[in-house]
């Protein structure tokens, strides 16, 4: 079940076929037509939409440059921005389709410009024409059993007659709800049901507050009781495996000798209270986390991006991928887990991350409390790669 994202243009729908991170500072982000070397005229604007400081994509999804393949040329305007943002989000969740729609898939068509400062969706021109041109295709897909939505800026509300497909969005957070697996997103084909979802969320918040008050009241009374002193901190679910996890972990850096990584020396990184010492990126060739066999999975959770990555193990240990973009410091958590988390759980962790307005809002304790709910033994380590 894939989610296909289409850009609504004045020439009809244009499919976003693929997004590939380039993540090379020398290469600018590019929009290519049908996988060929023909580039769309919006490539320059897309580069700015990605660029940190001006755009939002690098900040949200990590890489400093991307290649986007679309099915037809787009020559001007910025109304592609909402659709491209959604495509990046779908790509990060492993949902993005290639524009070839099959039964059971989801299709999201979008038009709208993004204010990159406050993430509001701005009004665009020719919305009625774009919807009119897309309408026959939307009906065909619906007949095929495809879930179809047409996202347009709330500021354009008066320009179009709303129908079953249209969904008005005022900011990127609302637009993101259109994707499957997002909270409240599954049943939001219209503004009306969006409102009911909003009411539901209020009820959930009230229940959560009541539950939190109860937890605080009963939690405090337990803490003051003598047996509560035996409890481990929140993110240590059991003492024995935790100690084993801590004992046998070592971060090894391969540092270049001379001017290339042809010759390297192994240097262990100091560990103090679950924080590995900062490491300079400049001469770093590779980075491995070595653990004993009680650790069956290591997750890398970036602090400065929304990346959540299960690491691969080889003979040298768990390989930590080094950032290609070495222009700024990179902070991340390494989560050593004694029981493997399923793909679904990892996906849930990604969604939990993406629900945060900024990646930097993830703290060690927040990560630990999420992991605790998964009922696994784990330890969270912190590490920072720095530019000297």
């Amino acid at each position: 079940m894939k989610t296909h994202i289409f850009i609504a243009t004045t020439q009809g729908l244009v499919a976003i076929q693929n997004i590939t991170p380039i993540d090379d500072e020398d290469i600018s982000s590019v929009v290519s037509v049908n996988g060929t070397s023909t580039t769309a005229n919006i490539s320059g604007s897309y580069h700015n939409f990605v660029k940190k400081g001006v755009g939002i994509i690098q900040q949200m999804f990590g890489a400093c440059s991307y290649r986007v393949d679309i099915s037809a040329r787009i020559d001007q305007g910025n109304s592609w921005q909402v659709a491209i943002y959604l495509a990046h989000l779908a790509q990060s969740k492993g949902l993005l389709g290639n524009g070839e729609v099959n039964q059971g898939d989801t299709v999201i068509c979008a038009t709208g410009e993004v204010n990159t400062s406050n993430h509001q969706v701005l009004a665009v021109t020719e919305v009625a024409l774009k919807l009119k041109l897309a309408q026959p295709q939307l009906e065909q897909w619906t007949a095929l059993g495809v879930k179809v939505q047409f996202l347009l800026p709330k500021a354009n509300q008066s320009d179009v007659e709303q129908n079953n497909y249209t969904l008005l969005v005022s900011d990127l957070e609302q637009a993101a709800l259109a994707l499957p697996n997002s909270t409240q997103s599954q049943t939001s084909p219209s503004v009306k049901s969006k409102k009911s979802a909003s009411n539901n969320s209020r009820i959930i918040i009230i229940i959560a507050i009541v539950a939190a008050v109860l937890v605080v009241v009963f939690g405090l009374s337990k803490l003051t009781s003598p047996e509560s002193k035996q409890h481990q901190p929140l993110y240590k679910t059991s003492k024995a495996p935790q100690t084993e996890l801590n004992k046998s972990i070592q971060l090894v850096a391969l540092i270049e000798q001379g001017k290339s990584c042809a010759q390297t020396s192994d240097e262990p990184v100091l560990l103090n209270k679950k924080v590995f010492a900062d490491l300079a990126l400049n001469q770093l060739c590779a980075l491995y986390l070595q653990t004993n066999t009680t650790v069956v999975q290591i997750l890398l959770v970036a602090q400065d991006a929304y990346t959540v990555l299960p690491l691969k193990q080889n003979q040298q240990g768990w390989q930590i991928p080094l950032p290609k973009n070495r222009a700024s410091h990179r902070s991340y958590f390494l989560v050593a887990i004694a029981q493997s988390l399923s793909e679904d759980k990892i996906e849930q962790l990604r969604l939990y991350r993406e629900a945060m307005p900024k990646p930097s809002l993830l703290t060690e304790s927040a990560l630990a409390s999420w992991l605790e709910k998964q009922k696994v033994n784990f330890t969270v380590y912190t590490h920072k790669l720095v530019i000297e």
């Binding site: 693929n18 590939t20 090379d24 020398d26 290469i27 590019v30 070397s37 490539s43 290649r67």
Partner: protein, 181 residues
């Protein structure tokens, strides 16, 4: 054959060709239906993106006098140049071109192996490079090819090209001189 004799022969040939052109209608112009003026050569050499570079360069490559004139214009008007590369081996393909004013390099696309990103870095670019882009001319003894890069942003501009494209091959052929305008 010594160089000065080569130049002498070329100059005599050019003078005769120009003399003939003054007295006869050049056949290729009447076939293409478009006549080119000297100013078109000047505009192309200056990097004006409004000139139909593809057609004009075809025309220039078919005419020795025009090629000679265009080369002289490039030498006078180009923003920067990189001469034919002196190589210490027989390998003619190079991975980058560097001069005091610019650097030209390419990187392969990871997904589409036949495609390359050609990156042109100009640290101290001039105003027209930010407005109208940069024209790169690749010139050998027998052929001139030209391509237009988009406007410079953050000190660089790039093209996505097919590796098999002759223009890309020329750009990284040590036997081609490069002129930027």
């Amino acid at each position: 054959m010594p160089d000065h004799l080569n130049h002498m022969q070329e100059q005599v040939f050019t003078a005769k060709a120009l003399y003939r052109e003054l007295h006869q209608h050049p056949p290729e112009q009447s076939h293409s239906g478009k006549s080119w003026l000297f100013n078109d050569l000047v505009q192309l050499a200056q990097g004006n993106p409004k000139i139909d570079g593809h057609q004009l360069i075809q025309h220039i490559n078919q005419s020795l006098p025009l090629r000679r004139q265009y080369m002289q214009l490039l030498q006078k008007l180009a923003f920067a140049s990189s001469p034919v590369q002196a190589a210490a081996s027989s390998k003619t393909e190079i991975s980058s071109r560097k001069s005091a004013e610019f650097e030209l390099l390419f990187k392969r696309d990871k997904q589409f192996s036949g495609q390359v990103y050609v990156i042109l870095k100009i640290p101290h670019s001039i105003e027209k490079h930010h407005n109208q882009g940069v024209r790169v001319n690749c010139c050998s003894d027998n052929l001139i090819s030209t391509m237009h890069f988009p406007p410079i942003v953050d000190g660089k501009t790039q093209l996505l090209m097919e590796e098999s494209d002759q223009k890309f091959i020329n750009m990284f052929d040590a036997e081609f001189a490069i002129y930027l305008s």
